[in-house]
């Protein structure tokens, strides 16, 4: 495998219809099997939903809670079916439970439905809640639309300050039937913040407010791109009011700008 091949595969996935990302990703993994592992861990695709066997609560699946064909439930902490896949240390599992509880409330308040899951994993040696990584997942679907949020983060603590590096992607898929219209895709945003930490549970509160803030920003950005930009571009390949009319409007706007 070369870096060029990997970059070319990512570039293809950035150009091809995002609605087919899972199918295209599978095809690429078959065409270039040596790229499969890296592609599967770095390309965001719509999240799966499973039901936890012990709590009967729904949870989300992705590459981060997968071990072979098993997935770990954030509610029980166990793999289903059971495997000896990686699990967080006892102290980190405590934080994971708190995170799942907190983001479940967040989900209820903002999504009024849907499913949320948080997975944490240890970074470095031993039982350590100063430095860890994780992912916050949220998903909501309705008959013709879906929203998937994926926030992958790293936490480091030094001298009472938590440093948070978060990569957030929202996959938004919207559709209507007459005329047949599909608007689908994803936007990604990187965030880095430093916030005070007095005890481990503060990490979850900090991550909560970061995710809340980033999702508001991404939501505005998605609205701008899907309903502003995309619609403007359609207007540039066919002018509903006519080319002359559009030119006149532009001239008027320029005159008004000149007067201001």
């Amino acid at each position: 495998m070369s870096d060029e091949q990997y970059d070319a595969a990512l570039s293809l996935l950035r150009r091809l219809d995002p609605k087919n990302v899972s199918v295209n990703l599978n095809s690429l993994c078959k065409i270039a099997p040596e790229l499969a592992e890296d592609l599967l861990s770095s390309v965001d695709q719509p999240l799966g939903v499973k039901t936890c066997k012990s709590t009967k609560k729904e949870y989300l699946t992705c590459d981060y809670n997968r071990d072979g064909d098993s997935f770990r439930s954030p509610w029980s902490g166990d793999y289903e079916p059971a495997t000896d896949g990686p699990t967080p240390s006892a102290a980190l599992r405590k934080l994971e439970v708190l995170a799942n509880d907190s983001f479940d409330i967040y989900r209820d308040l903002y999504y009024e439905g849907g499913v949320s899951s948080v997975y944490l994993w240890d970074q470095g040696e031993g039982d350590n809640t100063n430095s860890f990584a994780g992912v916050v997942l949220l998903k909501k679907t309705s008959p013709s639309s879906s929203w998937d949020s994926i926030h992958v983060f790293e936490v480091e603590t030094s001298r009472g300050e938590g440093i948070y590096r978060v990569t957030s992607t929202v996959i938004l898929d919207l559709g209507s039937k007459s005329p047949k219209l599909g608007l689908s895709g994803n936007l990604t945003r990187q965030t880095e913040r430093e916030m005070a930490v007095d005890e481990p549970s503060q990490h979850i509160a900090n991550l909560g407010s970061i995710v809340e803030d980033v999702e508001s920003k991404l939501r505005n950005q998605l609205q701008e791109v899907y309903f502003g930009k995309a619609r403007d571009i359609v207007g540039q390949v066919r002018s509903l009011g006519g080319v002359e009319d559009a030119k006149q409007k532009q001239r008027q706007e320029e005159v008004i700008k000149g007067l201001q």
Partner: protein, 262 residues
């Protein structure tokens, strides 16, 4: 039945966004590490994609189309607006004039007028009589802005056969700054029986109607579907008070539910 790798690659080519076919083919070539047997088989798919999307090419100072409707032989096409014949190189995507080709459809003038009134970007419209006696009308307009990470294309194709007119309108938009967003809209239009002199008028009305409906769909998706997925703020209209007291939200909700029952 699972698709072969070759079929998957053909699908990638067919799905290339407007104005990005070269980049898609280049990326495929790198992914398969220049495998010449795969790439030579893919050539047919690239040619078909060019014909299917009715690629707009420069012909002198004007624009023309490369489609199966105006194809005279494998590499030879004609432009119904200027009456020129041209050779098209599928590799370099360049058109070279190669003489004249008589085409004097009375519809072309009306089509040109409508096209220039509503299609402001890089495009062309043609009237192409077919061997089976039908007439094909093709309208394509694209706007390519890779510097700002977006491209868009309108393509409509109509067939006038035995006095009736039907066709398909396709809109394809790609926006790829900080992500990958695709808009695809298509509609089949059946305009029934139309006299030859009214063809352009009927197309104009149908396309106007389609675009109005499309704008309504945008509004509907924004107002209904989008808003139903995630709220801008919780019902409380304020951001969440994270931390130890977060479970109060659940408590508060339980109290409200309880209160409602009494």
């Amino acid at each position: 039945m699972s698709r072969s790798n070759q079929e998957a690659l053909a699908d990638f080519v067919a799905d290339a966004p407007p104005g990005e076919l070269n980049q898609v083919v280049e990326a495929i070539s790198t992914v398969v590490d220049g495998n010449s047997s795969i790439l030579s088989k893919l050539e047919t798919d690239v040619h078909n994609k060019i014909l299917d999307q009715c690629m707009v090419v420069s012909l002198g100072k004007s624009k023309s189309l490369v489609s199966k409707y105006n194809q005279l032989s494998k590499d030879t096409f004609y432009d119904s607006q200027s009456g020129q014949k041209f050779e098209f190189d599928f590799d370099t995507k360049k058109a070279t004039p190669s003489g004249s080709h008589g085409s004097d459809s009375p519809i072309q003038g009306a089509l040109d007028k409508y096209f220039s009134a509503h299609f402001p970007s890089e495009g062309a419209a043609g009237v192409f009589p077919q061997d089976d006696g039908s007439i094909a009308l093709v309208l394509v307009d694209g706007k390519y802005n890779p510097a700002n990470y977006w491209n868009g294309k309108w393509r409509s194709v109509y067939i006038f056969e035995s006095g009736s007119l039907s066709g398909t309108i396709d809109v394809d938009v790609h926006y790829y700054e900080d992500g990958n967003v695709r808009l695809k809209s298509s509609e089949k239009v059946d305009l029934g029986s139309v006299s030859e002199s009214d063809i352009v008028d009927a197309i104009s009305k149908a396309e106007q109607q389609f675009q109005e409906k499309l704008n309504k769909s945008f509004n509907g998706l924004n107002e209904d579907s989008f808003k139903a997925l995630r709220r801008q703020l919780p019902v409380t209209r304020s951001k969440i008070n994270w931390g130890k007291s977060i479970s109060n939200y659940r408590l508060g909700k339980d109290i409200n539910v309880g209160g409602g029952r009494e």
